[in-house]
Amino acid sequence: MTQVAVAGGLVVVAAVLSRIGRLGVERELVVAAVRAAVQLAAVGALIALVFEYAGLAAVFVALMLATATFTAGRRLAGVPDATLRSGLAIAAGTATGLGPLLVTGAFDTTPRELVPVAGILTGGAMVAASVTGRRLAEQAADELAVIETRLTLGVRVREALAPAVRRAAVTGLIPVIDQTKNVGLVTLPGTFVGLVLGGASPAEAARVQLVVLLSLLAVQVVAALAVARLVVAGLTAPGERVVPPTRPGPSRTAGSRPRWRRRP
């Protein structure tokens, strides 16, 4: 319990720092922390059952996909049909990794193996889709004048947005690339630690971790490219025009006052 209390205290510190730094994410930090606590407690109670019954495992995987879809969809607010586009990208990314791993028998289709692997791959796809899609939507809004200049020079929307797509996808993929490069040197990822704590030999744990990490590279590249493709399509209007998304996220923290306004 002391561990959780200390970690909870760190969330309070993070929220205070967010306030001081005017990041405006205090509420989101606290909500994320509370959700994590509730969800992990629930999963802890349910996981034994999920591992027991295949039907329940299928529902659990579907729930993971749906949650990832809505989470990424919220990050793309302002893009038409954001949730649908996020869901397609995450499903494409997850299937890219999960398909070959299951078909070749690298992992078993038993709930005990399927659920954790599907969770890790879906989570990876979600991060790549959220970051890439959001960054792309932000650039389309911020750089509209540049994008329209390219359009007036006679190129298609896809080409006019290509530099923004490239930058957004690179930003979305930096974490997984760095994580893979530095595994064992900077980070000891969850799969490895979990397996070792669960009694597997370090060599066995390392092998499974390697499979997961390498699969994640493909999963995230596919999710990033798919979401970029789908966001570009969402921002394209008939006549090779760009409809910029309404700017996602708050521009000013609630309650703050513009500097130019006179004090009452």
Binding site: T149, R150, T152, L153, G154, E240
Partner: protein
């Protein structure tokens, strides 16, 4: 490329759901300078955007050589009718990269000629386009449109951001482009400029 005849028939434009201009009839022929004059904020820029389908008119039609612009390939239309914005945006890279942007096989000779036509020296090719002065950027933007071999140019307030010394050569350039056979449509809030430049004037005001 042969200069297209651009016509609008009863065009109305809106921005953000608010109607700005309505019933606009104008015509630009080869070798002609037509000025659209009127106060700032009245919708002149939106009108130009409609001519190259960056926006769609809320009423009326835009015709290019008698064909409805809404039925033409937008990319081909934008190469044929160049739009130079009021504050031209220079793309990343040097002037050469800007001139060649979007062209499959840009010939060095064509790029140099386009630059010369706007009165800029060839040495400018290697300069970072984002470090040009306002006057130079305005000319490079015209040259960049010319590399697509257009038949007509739409110039949005071409001198609004320039001082008097930089504005006079741009006005001379506008006349020169028409003498080369291009149809030129200039949007301006400056009545005197419209008077100096245009063969024909279209006055616009709020509906």
């Amino acid at each position: 490329m042969a200069a297209p005849r651009i016509e609008t028939q009863g065009v109305a434009v809106a921005r953000g759901g608010r109607e700005l201009l309505r019933g606009i009839d104008l015509r630009v022929d080869a070798g002609q300078v037509v000025a659209v004059a009127g106060p700032s904020g009245v919708g002149k820029s939106s009108l130009l955007r409609c001519l190259v389908r960056l926006d769609e008119p809320v009423a009326g039609r835009v015709l290019v050589d008698g064909s409805d612009a809404a039925e033409l390939d937008p990319c081909a239309l934008r190469r044929r009718i160049g739009l130079v914005a009021q504050a031209p945006v220079m793309l990343a890279g040097d002037v050469r990269a800007n001139l060649a942007y979007g062209l499959e096989a840009a010939r060095e000779e064509d790029l140099r000629e386009a630059l010369e036509a706007t009165g800029l020296p060839p040495e400018l090719h290697d300069r970072d386009a984002r470090e040009l002065s306002g006057g130079e950027a305005a000319r490079v933007a015209v040259a960049r449109a010319l590399t697509r071999d257009p038949g007509a140019l739409l110039l949005d307030e071409p001198t609004a951001a320039l001082d008097r010394d930089s504005a006079a050569p741009i006005e001379a350039l506008v006349r020169d482009l028409a003498e080369r056979g291009l149809g030129v449509l200039v949007v301006t809030h400056d009545d005197a400029q419209a008077e100096r430049l245009a063969d024909e004037r279209v006055e616009v005001r709020r509906p």
